[in-house]
């Protein structure tokens, strides 16, 4: 999704399946190449200078600290900055994918998620209830929460929401920034 909003910006996207430098998603038959897709399996266009490699090289880039920013979804994030995104059951049943490897690199982590789950329960918790993926991260969504040294700070809220409403939908403790923007 993010790849559709980066046009004209000097950002290089990495897909764990082995592509560096891909662009927007494509859906027209004439544009689709069956061997060019992103980590979600969606067909994408390539930017000039793109490259292909195998999974070993892909995760060398991740664990080796060459990726500046990692963007993931999550089931839960807690006020300690811990992320849970691979299982809602136990360590046998889940989907880790490449998330843990991506977290073990040096990049900033942006979590893009719904603020509450489908039953309206908070996903921003005091402490994660699901198995953890990793620690020390940044979060965004209905609200944009930036990770300060040891806490999250509310920087922005979605149009139509007040900081108080966001607090009410959030279980974790966080600080409210001096000026809370409205997200575009």
């Amino acid at each position: 999704m993010v790849s559709n909003y980066l046009e004209g910006r000097d950002v290089t996207l990495h897909a764990e399946n082995g592509v560096l430098g891909y662009g927007r998603m494509v859906s027209e038959e004439s544009e689709i190449d069956p061997d060019i897709y992103n980590a979600a399996g969606q067909f994408v266009a390539l930017n000039p200078g793109a490259s292909f490699f195998d999974s070993v090289a892909s995760f060398e880039m991740a664990r080796g600290g060459r990726i500046d920013t990692v963007i993931l979804g999550a089931y839960e994030v807690d006020q300690h900055g811990s992320v849970a995104n691979w299982s809602t059951a136990d360590a046998k049943r889940g989907g880790i994918g490449g998330a843990m490897d991506l977290l073990s690199g040096k990049g900033d982590l942006i979590i893009v998620m719904e603020h509450v789950d489908s039953k309206g329960r908070p996903k921003l918790r005091r402490t994660c209830t699901y198995p953890l993926t990793g620690k020390a991260c940044v979060v965004t969504d209905l609200a944009l929460l930036r990770r300060d040294t040891n806490r999250f700070v509310l920087d922005a809220v979605a149009p139509g929401f007040t900081p108080q409403e966001v607090i009410a939908l959030t279980e974790m403790d966080f600080a409210v920034g001096p000026t809370v923007r409205t997200m575009e």
Partner: protein
């Protein structure tokens, strides 16, 4: 030297009950060793241990059809459950009929690479502070915990390439290398199915992604990549 097999059935015929088989391929309905997987299903080999990223959706011509045919004893994978309709493998896991070892994707390939490289084990930071590290050997390097990861060796690897020659030299296409090279190296017998078998020399040496020394068998695919499957809706989080 001629590594070409006449059919996918012949290429997998000696895979015996209890074998460990790595299946390369990434994505939902992308380039998999579909002919070889179907041949393995049709010969009903039992008690397989599968190494793969995931088994895929219900009915997908991937590892999942082996689970649907009750051929899988153990799964070593980065995904055992995916959102959406429950699959045969998920039901068998929940019922305790299929053993599971969940492995982060980058560790899965690194363990296979290590197996192929003659490195028995290595330490990695991935997942060191998670439930996956519970009960495992942990050692601090530079003040941070690292988990001891053991190499993976498999009996067979089922690969999908673009072109290959009778010497086993393989060329992949686009972003479809994924697990293929590391799984091949971890295997005693790597079997590759390709769109096209060419004469040695036809793939320029610098375009060979996987040298033939890692590949034992080459077979022409009987399943072309399905154009309609490309546009299936994606639902991985």
């Amino acid at each position: 030297m001629n590594k070409i097999f006449a059919s996918p059935e012949q290429a997998v015929a000696d895979i015996a009950d209890g074998a460990t088989v790595a299946i390369a391929g990434f994505g939902v309905a992308h380039r998999f060793a579909t002919s070889l997987i179907c041949a393995l299903r049709d010969q009903h080999t039992k008690d397989l241990t599968l190494v793969c990223n995931s088994l895929g959706d219900a009915g997908a011509t991937r590892g999942q059809i082996l689970a649907e045919n009750n051929q899988v004893k153990k799964l070593i994978a980065a995904f055992s459950v995916r959102p959406g309709t429950p699959t045969a493998s998920e039901e068998q896991i929940a019922a305790g009929k299929m053993e599971v070892e969940l492995v982060p994707q980058g560790i899965l390939v690194e363990r296979c690479r290590a197996g192929g490289a003659g490195i028995p084990a290595f330490y990695s930071p991935t997942g060191a502070d998670t439930d996956l590290a519970v009960g495992r050997e942990i050692r601090d390097f530079d003040g941070k915990p690292h988990v001891l990861e053991h190499a993976i060796h498999v009996d067979y690897a089922l690969l999908r390439g673009y072109r290959a020659d009778r010497l086993g030299n393989v060329q992949f296409r686009g972003g479809s290398q994924n697990f293929n090279p590391s799984f091949a190296k971890a295997a005693r017998v790597a079997i590759v199915e390709v769109d096209e078998i060419v004469e040695p020399g036809e793939i320029a040496p610098e375009l060979i992604d996987l040298p033939g020394i890692f590949v034992s068998r080459v077979v022409k695919t009987t399943h072309v990549v399905d154009g309609k499957a490309w546009r299936r809706p994606q639902r991985r989080p």
